[in-house]
């Protein structure tokens, strides 16, 4: 009897301990301070890190990325079965998935969603050009037939902006009016410029196993996630220090020391967050001369530009490779053309190219202050090489409009995250402003897109990177890190360029 009591007591104690641990982890509301209000909640129609960061909590894609940036299934059962000729991709769907409105997800929803994605999403259009057929084989199988093999397909299907999210077929419209997905959290209320309130979706069916980057199991510890737009970066810093925000996104790097040693928040450095670039106008004006583009490349000193833009060396890396360490795509091909800061060579190249003294118009915006700071340093290096410079500083909306007009600029400044597949890099297609048209590039890009062997694709990418330095259609300035802050109470959180809060929990 005594033995039974002891066993019962121990069992009760362990259950109590387990329930206490669970109680500690499940529940709570996190306030996430973001850089501003979203311009749309439709992740198919637009790109943008903030859009991807927020909408990935309520919309899901067939595939996503694991912690090593490999493609991993999300709503799909597994990776696609690809035919021997690389043209037919058969995708089995997970069963028992429900949308936030309670309806079940079937292949009909997936096909309707992908059709919209192919029509409206900029990444979808890359696939549409190569699509032969998209069909539902049965309730839980979808088949994509391509005209020719297209290796980046699964990476494109995995992306969280311009994203191939799966929506209920009856909710699909040119402009979405309801944001119903399959994600672990769903929208409860949105007050623009105030908050977007997400609550746990009780009908969510997580994948089995352990979390793995954006893939694997998605655990719903938190009751609510509130995305709060806080456009002023200093206010985000102060709000994190005061404990008003559990996570504050993208803070000024100067705030690092102030965040260190605080009780209610701690700094979080996101390594290799992105890379700024100077896009040259390959279509019209003086920069169509390859010699002049090479002169600009020779003149620029990336180290000084990055130091002016990001301050401490902890927040940038002087690196000419288009992928940082840790990516399978990393290559040193062509990087001798990077960070030259050589005004004499630049002057010589410009003279050879027949430079006539006209100012190079650099189009930039102060909405991204680091763009502007880099432009100022670049202007001094170009002047040292005898090149005249005109800085055209406008707001971002104007820049986006003007860059579409080849007559209005010679160089414009933008930046990008490190994309999981190089085929997605924005200035590669000739349709992107900058209009890099090159037979050698076209040939290599076709090879990159149609080659299904991963190792061979890495080698092809290496050749493309070398070509970028040889033809200088754009100039990569370097890598930059980003600073965010999180509450010490926020556990289970993984730092990312697109931070996510499933798997995260609040400790008491």
């Amino acid at each position: 009897m005594l033995r039974k009591l002891i066993i019962a007591g121990l069992a009760g104690a362990s259950m109590l301990a387990a329930s206490q641990a669970f109680a500690q982890e499940r529940g709570g509301v996190v306030n996430v301070a973001t850089i501003g209000e979203l311009t749309t909640l439709d992740p198919m129609t637009a790109t943008g890190d903030l859009l991807g960061m927020v909408t990935q909590h309520f919309f899901e894609t067939l595939y996503t990325f694991d912690k090593n940036w490999g493609v991993t299934p999300l709503l799909a059962e597994g990776l696609p079965e690809v035919s021997a000729d690389g043209k037919v991709h058969t995708i089995k769907l997970r069963q028992g998935i429900t949308f936030h409105d309670g309806s079940a997800m079937t292949s009909e929803d997936v096909v309707a969603s992908l059709k919209r994605w192919l029509e409206v999403a900029s990444r979808g259009k890359l696939v549409a050009a190569n699509l032969d057929k998209l069909e539902a084989v049965d309730d839980y199988t979808v088949r994509i037939t391509l005209k020719q093999p297209f290796a980046p397909l699964t990476a494109l299907l995995a992306f969280n902006n311009s994203a191939a999210v799966v929506l209920p077929s009856e909710k699909i419209a040119e402009t979405l009016s309801e944001y119903v997905g399959t994600g672990p959290y769903m929208i409860k209320e949105r007050k623009p410029d105030q908050y977007l309130q997400l609550v746990r979706f009780d009908g969510y069916k997580s994948r089995e196993g352990e979390p793995d980057g954006f893939g694997g199991a998605r655990k719903q510890y938190l009751d609510e996630i509130r995305f709060v737009p806080v456009p002023d970066a200093n206010t985000r810093v102060e709000g994190a220090i005061a404990g008003q925000y559990d996570y504050a996104d993208l803070l000024p790097v100067e705030a690092f020391d102030r965040l260190n040693g605080q009780a209610k928040t701690e700094p979080l450095v996101l390594k290799s967050f992105g890379w700024p670039m100077f896009i040259m106008n390959n279509k019209e004006g003086m920069m169509t001369k390859p010699g002049l583009r090479k002169a600009v490349q020779a003149a620029l000193n990336s180290e000084d530009m990055l130091a002016a833009a990001f301050g401490k060396p902890d927040f940038f890396a002087v690196d000419g490779a288009l992928y940082p360490e840790g990516y399978q795509w990393r290559s040193d091909a062509g990087v001798e053309g990077y960070n030259q800061g050589n005004p004499d060579k630049a002057k010589e190249l410009a003279t050879e190219a027949g430079y006539d003294g006209k100012p190079i118009r650099i189009l930039t915006s102060r909405q991204y202050e680091f763009h502007y700071k880099m432009a100022q340093v670049a202007a001094e290096y170009l002047k040292a090489a005898g090149l005249a410079v005109q800085l055209d500083v406008v707001d971002w909306a104007t820049l986006v409009q003007r860059r579409a007009e080849p007559a209005l600029w010679d160089i414009f400044i933008t930046h990008s995250p490190f994309l999981p597949d190089p085929a997605l890099i924005a200035p590669l297609p000739a349709s992107y402003p900058g209009w890099w048209a090159s037979e050698a590039k076209d040939k290599l890009v076709v090879e990159l897109n149609t080659e299904m062997d991963p190792e061979k694709r890495v080698a092809i990418w290496s050749d493309i990177q070398k070509l970028i330095y040889d033809e200088a259609p754009f100039y990569k300035v370097g890598d930059f890190n980003a600073l965010s802050a999180k509450s010490p109470k926020l556990g289970g959180f993984t730092a990312s360029a697109w931070p996510y809060f499933w798997n995260a929990h609040l400790t008491k």
Binding site: A46, A397, S431
Partner: protein
């Protein structure tokens, strides 16, 4: 008197029509394209053109103008391109924080400026007056966002008395929401008090030497009564004008403070709409702001009627 009111009403309508037209033209002449902003950095020109057609931005300007006027005639301010809601609803959402922020800021500014201005005029040239002159120059020179950041540091971060920013979450009570306004209203109130203090002082100086004040004193009336009843009442007209215009300015012009404190106010709405080129919101909001200006001016004119009998004739 009714002719005076009618004249003012006609003037209001003319101003409003002019504002509508100018806003429509300026918004569209300015560079930038809502379709490009909406589609993000990777959009191709073809994508942008398709969206322009969908939003009706490909239509000639005169046709867009006629649509706009017809819409206004129906009392419809349009539909926001980015917020996906009627402009009127977007403005209504912002009415509460903007109204109370303006009200608190004006109350704080008046509570500081009126007694200080009166005292300063009464003790003209003395130490108090000189100190007030220095302090008002200082207050007028302080950027409200800087004062806002200092207030955040002291009262929100160190003391934890007030929230740093925002306007409360989904479950925030009215009192919680109001607590979010204390620091921004103080920042705006202190900065605005400088101008009102200067006007109060100048206006009081004008009347304190007038004959009727001397007469009141010679009748043996107490100083407090002379200053408040005879002098201050007559000094009130220019002061009221400044308070009214400051209030009107705060409705739309508290943008920087609203941004620092992440308040979902009207000024914030207009600036983000300008950055995104959300034409309907820019037009609708500017129209409403212009209407508020015009109404406040009309209200001040009507107050003149009550305070100063000469206006009636």
């Amino acid at each position: 008197m009714s002719r005076y009111v009618l004249q003012r009403l006609l003037g209001m309508l003319t101003v409003m029509f002019t504002v509508v037209t100018i806003v429509f033209i300026i918004v569209r002449v300015a560079p930038g394209d809502p379709a490009a902003v909406m589609l993000g950095p990777d959009a191709t020109p073809a994508d942008i053109e398709v969206l322009r057609v969908r939003l009706g931005l490909d239509q000639p300007l005169p046709i867009q103008y006629v649509y706009f006027l017809a819409q206004l005639a129906r009392g419809d301010l349009g539909h926001s391109i980015f917020l996906d809601m009627p402009v009127a609803s977007a403005l209504l959402d912002r009415a509460e924080p903007t109204f109370f922020l303006t009200l608190f800021a004006i109350l704080i500014a008046s509570a500081i400026a009126l007694p200080v201005g009166i005292m300063s005029a009464y003790r003209r040239g003395g130490l108090f007056d000189q100190s007030v002159t220095t302090l008002t120059v200082l207050a007028a020179s302080i950027p409200s966002f800087w004062l806002g950041l200092i207030l955040i540091q002291v009262f929100a971060v160190r003391l934890g008395w007030f929230p740093v920013a925002g306007y409360g979450g989904p479950d925030a009570s009215f009192l919680t929401r109001m607590s979010h306004l204390v620091l921004p209203a103080t920042a705006l109130g202190v900065v605005s008090s400088a101008l009102i203090t200067r006007f109060t002082r100048a206006s009081m100086l004008d009347v304190l030497n007038d004959d009727y004040v001397r007469t009141a004193r010679s009748k043996g009336m107490g100083e407090l009564r002379v200053v408040m009843k005879h002098a201050f009442k007559n000094a009130l007209i220019p002061v009221l004008t400044v308070i009214g215009l400051t209030a009107a300015l705060l409705v739309s012009g508290a943008v920087v403070t609203e941004t620092v404190f992440s308040l979902p106010g009207v000024g914030n709405l207009v600036v983000s709409a300008v950055l995104r080129r959300d034409y309907p919101v820019i037009q609708g909001a500017l129209l409403v702001i212009a209407a508020i200006y015009v109404l406040i001016n009309f209200g001040i004119d009507m107050l003149y009627l009550m305070i100063d009998p000469r206006v009636r004739y």
